[in-house]
Symmetry: C2
Subunit: 215 residues, 2 copies
């Protein structure tokens, strides 16, 4: 599921209330209908949309009652700044997913507990603190990114700085050929080519065998 589909789904307040309820406990249609004060027919319609998107699934118990629950882990990030409107959604994979080594980031992951209740509670606490710290760090990075883009922008006249800041961003994300950069920033290839040469003159970028990179 892509970010756009997810935002369309989450743009509805009743679907958000259903997800909130299902995160609390698995529920059947009548329960949801009573809890959120929406007709069973409308609830079934929302559940169908959420199930089609793979966000929830259902199982039928011994009394043939159908329970719905949240199917999987999912994370959506939206970043808005004067220079960026970006959405990103990702599945956090399975618990065996190893934290890869990072160049600029180190995390005290703590010891995995022996598995008794006390250790699990401590680990939950530790992970939630880590999650809060990561959010804080992301806010800090976003503020600095805007500041750097502002400073690049203000170094040029007529707002051309935006173009240069976007090109440098694209290169930093591994988009390194003229056609790919032109698609990314939605500008004609000739303008991208010309701007890259200007950046080359300033010794900001250089040509490689396959494309361009930041010096």
């Amino acid at each position: 599921m892509d970010s756009a589909e997810l935002l369309n789904l989450l743009g509805n307040a009743n679907r958000r209330r259903i997800l909130k309820l299902l995160a609390h406990k698995p529920c059947y249609v009548t329960e949801i209908s009573e809890y959120i004060g929406v007709s069973p027919k409308a609830v079934i319609d929302h559940l169908q949309k959420l199930e089609d998107a793979g966000l929830i699934d259902s199982r039928t118990d011994d009394q043939r009652r159908k329970y719905f629950s949240i199917a999987r882990n999912l994370r959506l990030e939206v970043r808005v700044s004067p220079y960026e409107f970006g959405t990103k959604s990702a599945y956090p994979a399975n618990p065996e997913f190893e934290m890869p080594s990072c160049r600029h980031l180190s995390i005290d992951v703590g010891e995995e507990g022996a598995g008794n209740f006390h250790d699990l509670a401590r680990e939950l606490e530790h992970l939630q603190q880590l999650e809060n710290e990561l959010s804080l760090a992301q806010r800090w990075v976003q503020a600095r990114l805007t500041d750097v883009r502002d400073r690049i922008d203000s170094g040029f006249e007529n707002g051309d700085g935006r173009l240069y800041a976007e090109l440098v961003s694209g290169l930093a994300n591994g988009i390194d050929t003229v056609p790919a950069l032109a698609r990314e920033i939605e500008a004609p290839p000739e303008i991208v080519e010309e701007a890259l040469h200007r950046l080359e003159d300033d010794e900001v970028v250089e040509r490689t065998d396959d494309g361009w990179e930041i010096v």
Copy 2:
């Protein structure tokens, strides 16, 4: 602006396209209308909603043409898991915002460049790599959180484990009194009280002067 209002706004594909365009460059109504293929009247309506929410603002140039641009930094996170549906929105503050010290996280923030174009480009690249690493770390934490909640849940019968996992989560986030915990997890205070005593017997939590905390 709260997360719910933001999700309602972003649930519309044309509003997302307008934001994407304004992140690229400031635009006036006719430009936006032609670019996204929507009538000027509808564009004005979307712009009004975005402006009311403080997401965009406008300035009028010498030719009395009104340009719209994105007003501020904003970040929205949505987490979905079998145990959680959480949304969080935050303003990344101003560029002077200092990265606070974190208990479990350390970041190589790099040197701030002298301010020439080459240094700014390097800093932009560095910050984008850091942003990607932080996203990766968030996904890893979310997968581990779900795993720990699963393990707590499976230690109890009848799905009671969810209640205990939610209580421990609440305490980990500094919600430490019976009434506040009852509100947080939407359960009657008596049930919360009873569960806390059970957790106390297991030496997972203890009573403090003001409430409860994880041991």
